[in-house]
Subunit: 335 residues, 2 copies
């Protein structure tokens, strides 16, 4: 199997590469080649097969054409501008996230073969008001340009698949927690920060109240969803190819309690409440809980608990050990 | 008020022009100018204000730019390739229906003002399986390229509106019955034909069973919805700007009974049952009933009965009198 990963330099992209390299196969078939593409060269993994690393702009047709010359069997499409940037730079968001995806779809069409395309969509396709639990028939009514672009690509992917131009699956990822690395300016940054920083022995700021609830998965699980999506039988997908993924619905308070259970109560004291009205308002419009019945039925397996997410982070990112207290600020960068 | 109508040569476009010309105003404000645009020159109405008639390709930016020079206050966007053609010609459908709409939206953005944009969407954005009644939170999961294009434009319109690039409303029109003119090759053609042809004294073929249920409005009501959408207060629209329109849910049997009530039982005998498996299959995937609660709350008024639709057709299209039996085939063309 020849695998192409667009957005291979990103956090979830790199997790995906690691899992594929560790498994050596996908859906019971051996991996024979891998192409990693992003706006910058992705890290080249140690792999038992040839790996080609490429960089460029996904909205340029010639760039995408060159990635498809060898007709990859599976195309993971994770490339895109993140939500904050898509909101800040209207043209760039549409050019990369919408036009870039359509450029990919048209380039596949020109190759005239039927690869599986796995598109990383997002729960950002949803916008409130919400029912208590969002089921598989709830409308996509995004409240950001990023969500609009993701929802539009889901529609195109479904139509192109119906037309047998390719065989697509869009999976709507929950917020990925704990993101390794340093805090960023996304409004969601604190969901990772309130766990990641204390695990590193550092202080974290909590801008919302502890009863705020959100829908999340670990990076490890998110990458696993992408792999599972790549191996689904075509027949079971039918006409609805955009799937809300399982996750866990937890409150900030429950996350902090889990931190205490897994890493010790003293870590909880590193979290400083510092309410931020702007972030409170944004986060209030985010989905809190899904009934991902269809995905569960299709075998996407759910994260067990927030405790597991914290344990996975310690194992995957911290080499199994917690950071000393009062560690130098910025240590997270090096993870 | 300067009004621009894109798709002004189409059936609903012409009804809209007639109603605007009859009213002389829109939302209590006098109409001062009108531009009608389509792929062919629309018919020029008798109006008390200057009317400019133009033709061209909506996906060409220079064409659209020229339509916006005088910054029309209200833009009715009805232009597009119909469902059958969008399914048959993939590239043309996307170019006109999706890219054409985006070209319009970008051209408005360049003019840097805030017109009301009313987009004629369709219940084709929905695809089965359906609940018994489709409410305002049901997902758009189109099963045609046409529906995909309409749903994508709804998303873009909503995002552009949220960004204050324009002030958009998308209204999802039910099937329009009775369409004047002759039968066409659309799978839905018979819904009009089984009423229109007998009213003309001609035979009609019914390709589905009489218990088939569908969601419809008259041409007069569809045009009225567009006008109402143009006059809605901005504040009441909020973040969800794609509205499913009211209509009536009737079975083919109920339509035929109404034909008998309004036009006489002898007209019913002009309908010949001739089951067509292909059409039966297509029509089975269409929505049958909506709860258009939000639209009703916003003042879109519902057609009273199929009897009214037939009476309106007789008044609007047949000059108030029924066709003689065994009229020459093709008479409908001249209506």
């Amino acid at each position: 199997m020849h695998i192409l990963i667009l957005g291979g330099a990103g956090m979830v992209g790199q997790k995906l590469v690691q899992q594929l390299c560790a498994a050596g196969e996908i859906g019971g078939r051996e991996i024979s080649a891998m192409t990693l593409f992003d706006i910058v060269d992705p890290l080249k993994p140690a792999a038992a097969w040839p790996v080609s690393v490429r960089s460029g702009d996904i909205s340029q047709r010639s760039v995408v054409d060159s990635l498809l010359v060898h007709k990859p069997d599976i195309i993971f499409h994770l490339a895109g501008v993140v939500s904050g940037e898509a909101e800040q730079d209207f043209d760039k968001g549409y050019r990369v996230n919408l036009d870039g995806s359509r450029t990919l779809f048209e380039a596949i069409r020109a190759q005239n073969y039927l690869p599986r395309v796995v598109f990383a969509s997002s729960i950002a396709v949803f916008g409130g008001p919400f029912p208590e639990v969002i089921d598989d028939t709830f409308l996509a009514a995004p409240l950001t340009s990023y969500g609009t672009q993701k929802a539009s690509v889901e529609l195109l992917l479904t139509d192109y698949s119906r037309r047998n131009i390719f065989d697509g699956v869009a999976i709507r990822l929950p917020s990925v927690v704990i993101r390794p690395g340093k805090p960023n300016k996304a409004a969601s940054s604190f969901f990772s920060g309130i766990l990641r920083e204390p695990l590193n022995g550092e202080e974290a700021v909590l801008p919302v109240s502890r009863d705020v609830r959100h829908w999340m998965v670990s990076p490890r699980t998110a990458a696993g969803f992408l792999i599972h999506a790549a191996t689904l039988d075509r027949e079971v997908l039918g006409d609805r190819r955009a799937l809300s993924m399982p996750g866990i619905s937890v409150t900030v308070g429950e996350m902090i309690d889990a931190l205490g259970r897994v890493a010790g109560k003293d870590r909880m004291a590193l979290i400083r409440d510092e309410p931020d009205e702007a972030i409170i308002r944004i986060v209030a419009s985010w989905p809190q809980r899904f009934d991902a019945a269809r995905a569960l039925q299709l075998g996407f397996s759910q994260e067990v608990s927030i405790d597991d997410i914290i344990r996975n982070h310690i194992a995957d990112e911290l080499g199994g050990r917690l950071g000393d207290f009062a560690a130098v600020r910025g240590r997270g960068d090096q993870v």
